[in-house]
């Protein structure tokens, strides 16, 4: 059975045997959305960002203040410009350098499979569909549906004026449906996949493979995010710099946010040999963990993860040439030593730290499973050479510590908004074409 919590602009819980009615509602809503100027959509989203901060029921939820910042008009305009090169392509045909006009048409209904690791992930996915004027049919993890519904619940109260006309948040809301259904239900999953003009899939390896294999329409575009692995590399200059303590604070945030369950969560930190020993740095990193907000240190973990962390700690405490620095509880764990290699993720704020002679030793470890590498390499030439080498081997995002989770497009090497539209042409004359 399919449960729907938002459809046709109404926050009502309804049950459905299939997606026919819900998809029809999204189709009607997306046509209204497509008729809006992109500026209006951005203006409404900008207001939404401000309003969610005023709502005491949601403004203290982790990640909500970041959403508010991310929804700023300048940021959304920049994201669109970056993807479309010119935001006017979304609203109509525009002259190009060639002899035909071009326009970015939305694909239609985007079906989103949202992973159960980041409560706010679904919201970012929906906003990207709105910025490309697509309708959204969102399969949400049940635990996260209330937060997303609360965020979207601010839309009906928003009205904006644009060139003498008034538009409301309902113009956006009608293009969104939030559903939950049992992912193991082959029938429901196939039906969901088959109403999509575009599929956005977030998740782990098994989920992504299973969903990607579902039947879909011939023209359907599939955008896959995950599964991925992230890590960090700091060079000697960075480690020995006066600001290193602050850098560790920022890096701890990278580890702790989402309790290390995101594809952008770092699992290993490689440290170039410096005047500080691995033990010194482990100790300073431990202090940085202790300075981090209690809410990040004390996140709930399943008992299975407790056992995994306890086993990892014991393994490193028992073994030769390894060690473990950890909180008394399972709040954070630093595992030091071992070979120069990537390590299987444990999650729950377990970071492996390893010493290397030079950061270049890390380059051969990179493959296409690597999403983000947080690098502490101050020298711009060295930094760029390293980035060029690791991205050529498959890494997607080379960032600075403290920003590893910032949702900046491209993500996973994908310009999402660009993939969410069809580039169509209109030719008005013969012209001459190269």
């Amino acid at each position: 059975m399919i449960a729907c919590y938002l459809s046709d602009g109404k926050f009502e819980t309804t049950s459905h045997k299939d997606f026919e009615v819900v998809a029809q509602d999204v189709n009607v809503g997306r046509e209204r959305l497509a008729a809006l100027p992109l500026d209006v959509i951005i203006k409404i989203l900008d207001t939404l960002g401000k309003n969610i901060l005023k709502n005491p029921e949601i403004n203290s939820v982790p990640g909500v203040s970041y959403i508010s910042l991310w929804l700023r008009r300048e940021n959304l305009e920049r994201i669109c410009r970056f993807n479309y090169t010119d935001n006017r392509y979304l609203d109509g045909f525009c002259i190009t350098e060639t002899h035909f006009k071009m326009m970015a048409q939305p694909r239609g209904i985007v079906c989103h499979w949202i992973a159960a690791n980041m409560p706010t992930l679904g919201f970012f996915s929906i906003v990207q569909a709105l910025l490309s004027k697509n309708g959204s049919l969102v399969k949400m993890p049940p635990a996260y549906a209330p937060l997303i519904l609360s965020l979207l619940g601010e839309l009906p109260g928003i009205s904006v004026n644009y060139k003498g006309s008034t538009y409301t948040g309902n113009d956006l809301l009608g293009a969104i449906a939030i559903v939950t259904f049992e992912g193991r239900s082959r029938e429901a999953s196939e039906q969901f996949s088959q109403v999509a003009d575009c599929r956005i899939i977030f998740g782990g390896a098994e989920a992504v493979r299973a969903i990607a294999r579902l039947p879909c329409r011939d023209h359907c575009e599939t955008i896959i995010f995950g599964p991925k692995y992230s890590f960090a590399v700091f060079d000697r200059i960075y480690i020995e710099s006066p600001g290193f303590t602050k850098s560790l604070d920022r890096f701890v945030r990278d580890i702790a946010v989402f309790n290390q369950m995101a594809c952008s969560s770092p699992h290993v930190l490689f440290l170039e040999k410096s005047r500080f020993s691995l033990e010194d740095i482990a100790s300073r990193l431990g202090e940085a963990f202790e300075r981090s907000p209690a809410a990040l240190r004390m996140q709930d973990i399943p008992t299975s993860l407790s056992a995994a962390i306890i086993n990892a700690r014991a393994t490193y405490l028992l073994a030769d040439k390894k060690n473990c620095v950890a909180s008394k509880n399972l709040g954070w764990t630093i595992l030091t030593g071992g070979d120069t290699c990537l390590e299987e993720p444990i999650q729950g704020k377990c970071i492996f730290i390893k010493e290397v002679n030079t950061v270049d030793e890390v380059i051969p470890l990179v493959n296409h499973k690597i999403q983000a590498i947080a690098i502490g390499i101050p020298d711009l030439m060295k930094r760029e050479a390293f980035a060029k080498a690791v991205t050529s081997r498959g890494a997607d995002r080379i960032v600075i510590p403290g920003t590893i989770h910032d949702f900046i497009l491209p993500w996973d090497g994908i310009m999402t908004l660009n993939r969410l539209v069809r580039w169509v042409i209109l030719r008005d004359d013969q012209g001459s074409q190269v």
């Binding site: 599964p227 989402f258 306890i310």
Partner: protein
């Protein structure tokens, strides 16, 4: 560890012998803790001297054994470590045999080195526990499994541990199942013999919970066979995850199986134990509580804070023991969840802590879009 020094002195052997010779459930918890702590401290010192891994473990956590003031502060080693490290604490030459336990989850086996004194202590301990539940006389022992499970060449598993351990009280042993082409069937000649000739004997039995229910009970039901023993006690353990999947409660299991043997449900005794702590089983009393004997202690630890839990709060089960000189069994953290029910006041009259098994901890899986770094080709 070729240059390992000889054991300098055995732990406070006379104190331990005294505990093993006494009744297992008469000491109040605080008295028991007072008895165990000095013995364990001595054992830890020997372990640190004789095993570099354990030496790392203590020094890296800055543990000064002389300053350990409570059993709760003894560093516990997770049970999985027996699969990855040699946790022998006696000289290699003193190891009489190595138990290899595949456990219930498969994978690499645990390796548990046993010397003579440890084996002897384990036998004494188990005898002491069984005596409390069965009385002093040896009895007819029924194994609800096939004889092959106890062959020396078989890997040491929870099933073999139970059979070998509990057989120390047997005056005669019968295997009620046979294995034919990998399938378990009823050992009919033995079953007929028991029905005809042993109904009035003192009988105790052991079986793996899941096998008793899904194989033995089903086969007996199909054949319409029931026993009618005058005095019958069944010890069963393991497989509760599978039983939970089958939606069979402990109460249903006990009532049904008691009926099968002509016994009362109070004599169907679930126990908790593991190969890494052979010699100690935590057996249900008539009130469904598992009791901790004098030579052992149980601590339930919060799965996040790792602090001891108050009664009523589930947590990871840590088992402590003074039995072993040959490996680190002083404090072993299991991957099982249990709940302390109370201390010294079980209506059955046994003193000390009493607890209940709750569940096995599921295997950890990577959640979310984070994943292995390995590329699949």
């Amino acid at each position: 560890m070729g240059n390992m020094p000889r054991v300098l002195q055995s732990p406070d052997a006379s104190a331990r012998d005294g505990i093993l010779a006494g009744a297992p459930y008469i000491l109040e918890d605080h008295r028991k803790n007072e008895n165990l702590l000095p013995i364990i401290r001595d054992q830890l010192k020997t372990a640190i001297r004789n095993n570099r891994f354990i030496d790392h473990y203590f020094s890296r956590q800055s543990v000064d054994v002389d300053k350990i003031g409570r059993l709760e502060d003894v560093p516990y080693i997770p049970v999985q470590m027996f699969k990855h490290f040699d946790l022998r604490t006696c000289p290699e030459g003193e190891v009489a045999k190595i138990l290899q336990s595949s456990g219930t989850t498969g994978g690499s086996p645990s390796r548990i080195p046993l010397d003579k004194s440890t084996t002897l202590n384990q036998i004494k301990a188990l005898k002491s526990i069984l005596e409390d539940y069965l009385g002093k006389n040896r009895k007819i022992f029924l194994v609800i499994d096939h004889e092959g499970i106890n062959k020396p060449e078989m890997a040491f598993s929870a099933r073999t541990a139970g059979v070998r351990g509990l057989s120390i009280y047997a005056k005669k042993t019968f295997y009620l199942l046979r294995e034919e082409n990998g399938t378990l069937t009823l050992n009919m000649p033995v079953i007929r013999d028991l029905i005809e000739n042993y109904a009035h004997e003192d009988v105790y039995a052991f079986g793996f919970t899941y096998i008793i229910w899904t194989v033995f009970y089903e086969l007996l039901k199909k054949e319409g066979i029931r026993f009618s023993f005058d005095k019958f006690v069944l010890f069963h353990g393991g497989g509760w995850k599978k039983m939970k999947d089958l939606a069979v409660s402990k109460e249903t299991f006990s009532a049904t199986i008691a009926g099968l043997f002509g016994a009362v449900p109070e004599n169907i005794l679930d126990f908790y134990g593991m190969a890494e702590q052979t010699g100690i089983i935590f057996v249900d009393c008539p009130h469904g509580n598992k009791h901790v004997p004098a030579f052992s202690q149980v601590i339930i630890r919060d799965p996040f804070t790792l602090e001891p839990c108050e009664p009523g709060k589930p947590g990871l089960i840590e088992v402590m023991s003074i039995l072993a000189d040959s490996y680190y069994d002083q404090a072993v953290l299991t991957e099982d969840l249990g709940m302390l029910v109370g201390v010294d006041d079980c209506p059955c009259g046994r003193k000390g802590r009493y607890f209940r098994f709750v569940a096995r901890v599921e295997k950890a899986e990577i959640r979310g879009c984070g994943d292995t770094f390995r590329e699949l080709h």
